[in-house]
């Protein structure tokens, strides 16, 4: 993929005229996916794809085209020629863009993290073998994922990571299941089998008659996976400088100083802990870490080059979406082994599902409990909880209502594969909350 990208980018740069500038971005992957249900194979597949995005710039006029790369040099060059010609023709009719900002540096970077990934035979043998006897459903995704940037001004950046993500659930019956995931770069069949086997241990508890509770406010422990879901809601426009400047951030009250979260909440974008590249689509190098919330107070925003130009501020290398790619929430002091005792009586939330804003301006979010969510009494798991809806504000849950955060964090690779495999990661603890408002 690397040679293909830089070769085609070089070809494209050779097609420029006069003062034209060309930026080239690459997104590609060579992925195996094995989808399974009832521990049997449903849809195994290989997907090889590479997308080249060209941005032709002439003065302050610019246009952008994305092409699927075939790997056949003649075909790809023809497609590039056609794209550049079409953009060049369009530039004449486009207005100047006052917010255009791109890197003019001729810098370079190269990150290549090789791993040991399963073959097709190994993947199917492992899943069919380790899942035997379990009602196991999910997906294994594995292979290299790559991003690249090059400019006609001399920049060359490459970022490629081999990884796998096994994301699965084991069902005890009905809608009662244990959810787990295992991500990494070194596939170890024995370790994968051990992790799948570990999910069996919770099945006897899940087989107990489920407990239904009335709507109301309950003490709750929100697991790292569930807290990750909540934080991704905050990441939907929350830390974007553009959304904040236009009063649309769901944490606008925090940004404007009208509200605060608990002092225990310190959130940052921390590239060093994730899989995302250290360059953005405009060619700027991104800092290792950006503080966004420090001890419950607004500390910073993600500022893309375009937003920086629009509002006369400095960019910090955020992507155009201005959302975190390597989220990091600082841990607290609650030992994992003490969670049930600290919760005492209440709800242990294994996972949340289908979150959305019910009142965006107030950071009020609604969603459902899912998978292994338990009713706990006097520090003991009593029964799985029937699905409950919650509807509450981040300011209550992670503000006055936040009693403690775990002293450990989980590293979570986003399981999203829309268009391609996600590179977003999170490092989050669990949270003990004095009141979670259940509504249905």
């Amino acid at each position: 993929m690397k040679d293909l990208f830089f070769s085609l980018a070089g070809y494209a740069f050779g097609r420029l005229r006069g003062a034209e500038v060309l930026l080239a971005n690459f997104a590609g992957e060579d992925s195996d996916f094995v989808r399974f249900n009832h521990a049997r194979i449903r849809q195994p597949m290989t997907v090889r794809q590479g997308y080249l995005t060209l941005q032709l710039i002439d003065g302050r006029r610019h246009d952008r085209t994305t092409l699927t790369l075939t790997g056949v040099a003649a075909d790809d060059r023809r497609a590039i020629d056609a794209a550049i010609e079409a953009m060049r023709a369009d530039l004449r009719s486009l207005p100047e863009d006052p917010y255009l900002l791109y890197s003019t540096a001729a810098d370079a970077s190269n990150t290549e993290r090789r791993g040991m990934l399963p073959s097709a035979e190994e993947a199917i043998d492992t899943l069919a073998g380790a899942g035997a006897g379990l009602d196991m459903v999910g997906i294994l995704a594995s292979g290299p994922v790559a991003r690249g940037f090059a400019s006609s001004l001399g920049a060359r950046h490459w970022h490629a990571v081999d990884s796998f993500l096994l994301d699965w659930s084991v069902y005890a019956g009905g809608d009662k299941a244990v959810k787990a995931s295992h991500a990494g770069q070194q596939w170890d069949r024995a370790e994968v089998a051990r992790r799948i086997d570990a999910t069996r241990a919770q099945l006897p508890l899940l087989a107990r008659p489920p407990r239904s509770i009335e709507p109301g406010a309950y003490r709750a422990y929100v697991s790292p996976a569930a807290l990750d879901e909540l934080l991704w809601m905050l990441n939907w426009g929350g830390v974007s400088a553009k959304e904040q400047r236009t009063q649309q951030s769901p944490i606008q009250d925090l940004v404007d100083g009208r509200a605060a979260l608990s002092e225990q909440i310190s959130l940052r974008e921390h590239l060093a802990g994730g899989l995302a590249p250290k360059f953005d689509e405009a060619g700027f190098t991104r800092p290792e870490s950006i503080d966004l919330i420090r001890h419950g107070r607004h500390a910073g925003s993600l500022v893309s080059p375009r937003t920086a130009q629009e509002y006369g501020t400095a960019s910090n290398g955020a992507t155009e979406a201005e959302s975190m790619q390597s989220m990091d929430l600082a841990p607290g002091t609650l030992a994992r082994g003490e969670v049930l005792r600290a919760l005492d009586t209440g709800v242990y939330v294994g996972n949340f599902h289908y979150l959305n804003w019910s009142d965006r301006s107030s950071a009020r979010v609604t969603g459902l409990t899912r998978f292994a969510t338990w009713w706990v009494e006097r520090g003991q798991i009593v029964a799985p909880l029937s699905v409950m809806r919650f509807d509450d504000t981040l300011y209550r849950m992670l503000g006055a209502g936040l009693e403690a955060l775990d002293s450990e964090t989980d590293w979570i690779l986003n399981n999203g594969t829309y268009g391609g495999r996600a590179i977003e990661t999170s490092r989050v603890p669990g949270a003990l909350i004095s009141q979670l408002r259940l509504t249905l």
């Binding site: 989808r35 249900n37 195994p44 794809q49 994305t66 459903v137 459902l368 249905l440």
Partner: protein
């Protein structure tokens, strides 16, 4: 590679190995262009040309797939070999009892485009700039954007057993939204839905009939109305859902629960399962006798109309729910063969689809419509003594069995003594699918129908966001739990 059906079919048949029970290829070629104007400034233009092939191989009970953007002979051969390898590896360890039987259709489909949309980029910008500038009516309007997204797709399929189809689609998706702010309140009002709810097949005629021209100022005025409006009250009341909220209600609490792959458990690790079980088809009362729901791929302007699904089944209009009784699920040929172990009499609909060349087909909802009733909008409003009209979806959430839902809208308007009264902001409501549809008490006539949809229906592992269409009249529901915002 030449992009014609005959060449593709010939090449594929020459390359496919012997010994497979089935082999087919689906090639998708998609051109799209998005033009956006935000606060009267043209945003970066976005064009794309996406092209690639998905090969399907079946060996006994094993299915395998391989997708490649390399359409050369070598690239296609490598994909065929890889798909065959996956199929053979899965054999004896798959969810199937035997090799699934797939149809071998021959035929063509093309969007019934009256006026192909071939606007220059300058013309597209002019159209959007006019609406953008019309939004600037007050300092409290703090953000706004107008956009036009157009897509042309060609999809070819060929199989070893003689299937050859060509389907060509043209989609046009205009949109606009406005944000108003004052004090600590922010309100968003959109034309066509915040997430491209006005999406249809066709060209320039889609824009002409949509009402997009002139929507800028009207939408900005409504955003200011919302900013000045009181919070939605809480309580149990009758609600009148307009088509741009009905589409979401149908999608989440009828469409997804009826997907056969969810019922068979494929989606339990991601999108979820369903409260609907196989034994319910043919007898279960899903809604009041006024509820009639069709799978309708024949409505030419609707977003997900087609002639064949991606497993090759020929598409036709079918009732899924008639007079409130659940009749059939949304399942393609492969899912129906799996379900036949438990229910051999399940009806079929052609709705196994993929979002592009790099994903295999799964059960989707395609065009899922509520059929019109007999009530005029005026009659429905007049029938409500104390209630709420709700328009334009803003928030959506439902449990993994598709039962407990909570939805919110951009626009609410109280109805008192049979008359429309004051506007309210942040209207939300919640309920349970299994009982909500039984509270359907009036269904609007054809004059209240609107054809909408979404380009972003998400499910599947690996994930797929696909185009679906929803046509619906306005509908009245009795005794719904309604509430508003924090402040």
């Amino acid at each position: 590679m030449p992009f014609d059906l005959e060449t593709l079919a010939q090449r594929f048949r020459r390359l496919a190995p012997a010994g497979l029970d089935h082999a087919s290829v689906r090639v998708v070629d998609e051109h799209s262009q998005t033009t956006r104007v935000r606060q009267d400034v043209a945003e970066p233009g976005e064009r794309s040309h996406d092209r690639g092939a998905m090969v399907t191989a079946i060996a006994g009970d094993g299915l395998g797939y391989a997708a490649t953007s390399d359409l050369s002979e070598a690239g296609l051969r490598a994909a065929i070999d890889r798909a065959a390898q996956w199929a053979r590896l899965a054999r004896g360890r798959s969810v199937f009892d035997a090799a699934p039987a797939l149809p071998a259709p021959r035929g063509r489909y093309a969007s019934a485009t009256a006026k192909p949309l071939r606007l220059s980029t300058a013309d597209r910008l002019d159209l959007l700039m006019r609406e953008s500038k019309a939004c600037r009516i007050d300092d409290r309007i703090v953000d706004w954007e107008a956009s036009l997204w157009t897509v042309r797709t060609r999809q070819l399929t060929a199989s070893l057993d003689g299937a050859e189809t060509l389907q060509e689609h043209e989609f046009t998706i205009p949109a606009l939204h406005v944000v108003a702010h004052a004090g600590d309140l922010t309100q968003t009002r959109s034309w066509g839905g915040r997430y491209n709810g006005y999406c249809q097949q066709g060209g320039l005629e889609v824009i002409e009939r949509s009402g997009f021209v002139g929507c800028g100022r009207a939408t900005a005025e409504e955003a200011l109305q919302l900013l000045a409006a009181p919070n939605c009250p809480s309580g149990r009341m009758d609600v009148l859902l307009m088509p741009d909220q009905m589409m979401l209600q149908i999608h989440e609490s009828i469409g997804h629960p009826l997907e056969l792959d969810r019922i068979l458990g494929d989606e339990r690790n991601y999108a979820g399962t369903s409260f609907v079980t196989l034994d319910m088809f043919g007898a279960y009362r899903y809604g009041s006798p006024l509820l009639n729901v069709t799978f309708d791929p024949t409505r030419s302007e609707e977003f997900a109309s087609f002639a064949f699904d991606d497993e090759g089944s020929r598409a036709s209009r079918e009732y899924l729910i008639r007079d409130g009784i659940l009749l059939r699920p949304l399942g393609g040929a492969i899912s129906q063969q799996r379900a036949a172990r438990a229910r051999a009499d399940l009806g079929a609909v052609a709705t196994a689809r993929s979002c592009g060349w790099n994903r295999p087909p799964i059960d989707r909802m395609s065009n899922l419509n509520v059929e019109p009733g007999t009530s005029t909008l005026a009659e429905m409003i007049a029938s409500i003594d104390d209630g709420l009209l709700m328009k334009t979806n803003a928030s959506w959430s439902i449990d993994d069995s598709r039962n407990k839902f909570q939805f919110g809208c951009e626009w609410g308007q109280r109805i008192r003594a049979g008359q429309l009264a004051e506007v309210v902001r942040n209207p939300n409501y919640r309920g349970i699918s299994a009982t909500f549809w039984r509270s359907l008490s009036m269904v609007g006539d054809a004059s209240t129908m609107e054809v909408m949809g979404t380009p972003y229906c998400g499910k599947g592992e690996p994930n797929q966001a696909i185009r679906v269409g929803h046509a619906s009249p306005a509908c009245r529901f009795d005794g719904v739990d309604v509430f508003g915002a924090e402040r």
